[in-house]
Point group: C3
Chain length 193, copies 3
Amino acid sequence: VRLRPVQLLALFCVGAAGGLIGDEGHVASGTTVYLQHGVPFVWKSAIWFPLLVGTATAATAELRLHLGAPRPGDAFEAVGAVAAVIGIYAVSALMRHQPLGPATALVWALALLVVARFAGGLPGLACGLATAIAGCVVEIVMIAAGVFEYASGIGSLAGVPPWLPALYLAFGVVAARLGEIVFTAGESWERAG
Amino acid sequence: VRLRPVQLLALFCVGAAGGLIGDEGHVASGTTVYLQHGVPFVWKSAIWFPLLVGTATAATAELRLHLGAPRPGDAFEAVGAVAAVIGIYAVSALMRHQPLGPATALVWALALLVVARFAGGLPGLACGLATAIAGCVVEIVMIAAGVFEYASGIGSLAGVPPWLPALYLAFGVVAARLGEIVFTAGESWERAG
Amino acid sequence: VRLRPVQLLALFCVGAAGGLIGDEGHVASGTTVYLQHGVPFVWKSAIWFPLLVGTATAATAELRLHLGAPRPGDAFEAVGAVAAVIGIYAVSALMRHQPLGPATALVWALALLVVARFAGGLPGLACGLATAIAGCVVEIVMIAAGVFEYASGIGSLAGVPPWLPALYLAFGVVAARLGEIVFTAGESWERAG
């Protein structure tokens, strides 16, 4: 493991917080509906949701560091990367009652802009693709198990919306970028200390 | 002609595909309506529409190479540029039932961000302006001829929406950028071969 | 005062024009309603509104030049910066009937992307924060005085929407960036003259 426990914890917290903000939008807009209420809820989300997103953030960041040399980045870059994903997440919620075609085109376009801006090459792109596949598979399984569902007419891709892979793609690219920034910042800190 | 046949064909295909995706959004949202159904349709578009957009893409890319030295760019840059235009296209469809003032402000703002990010100077900007004028004139003529129409209340600019020049501006700037990238990539390939 | 009168005037005019465009969207969408009609109106705005925004633009630009060395920038950068704020302004108007949670998340995400792209360090960020605080306080006082109001259900933050600080944050960062660009362009002009 390349990242230290405190770095992994910080990435987990950023991911969990971002997941809570994004999921609030999906629940408030009716994009998603939780069907099982036997677990504790945090804000609008079942407790397992921020835990999963936080874990995926830390795991993707760690994965990135095994795929190639990380590029440094400052706090502004990190804030911009996180904001980009939360913005796309919010857009997907705000498109709830729009025609699915252009809504899907918009979310994919925004995700590809995130790839172009933040991936920085094949390692970052690979993290995004891995997250896109894993995220969609997990959601499809949970939907099949009756844990939650997407609004009627949206889940045309085995139960999930056609824009969902794009949202996870952007998420994975940004988590990888955060891994690079946190790791290289830690190295600089050590060298200076 | 600076671009090779295979490069022009590739640009044509990217433009035609992007036109189909964007037009699907305009038709699905009711932003535009085709009035003549005597021609074959591809997905939601009359066959001549992707042909026109593809041709305009290749022609604008070729034009760019006659206006100044091209700047190189990688695949990520090309993907980002295409995504930016498809995103603006989708936004214009999704604004169908919104007040025309802020919808127009948003599309123009996004187009100017594309100019700031991708034009790279006066040659790229000139391509965008040429496309904006030509595209709007062609659409105004076709609307006057009864080929298609914009939704009631949207076409306040001689039949076309006030955000249409901005969409074509972004399209022209991106087509020019693609021309630069494809041409310089071909040159590198040749030098290496 | 670092900026010359003609530079301050240009910044005032850009800010006033941008304020008029943005306010048209807020009024047209019903996001805001003017309650006192005893003053002259310009387009959709009470005359004092563009005057305030123009003055704030020039003042923030001037403030920036007292906080650290300015970075140069070209006309494309300036156009992109202005477009970014007008785009966020329009988005806030277009979200009028959307759930407030994801609308707020989107506007904040866009504002933080503006910070990441245009602030360029702490001086620019400080200008954004100063504008965010001052702008919201002024609006809260004017709302309490019955001058205007936000649409029912939107003004959950002492009468203003929770996305308003983000809009002012982006505005302040961009005004600071314009100050840098105008000042350094003036210096280059002088040196060349």
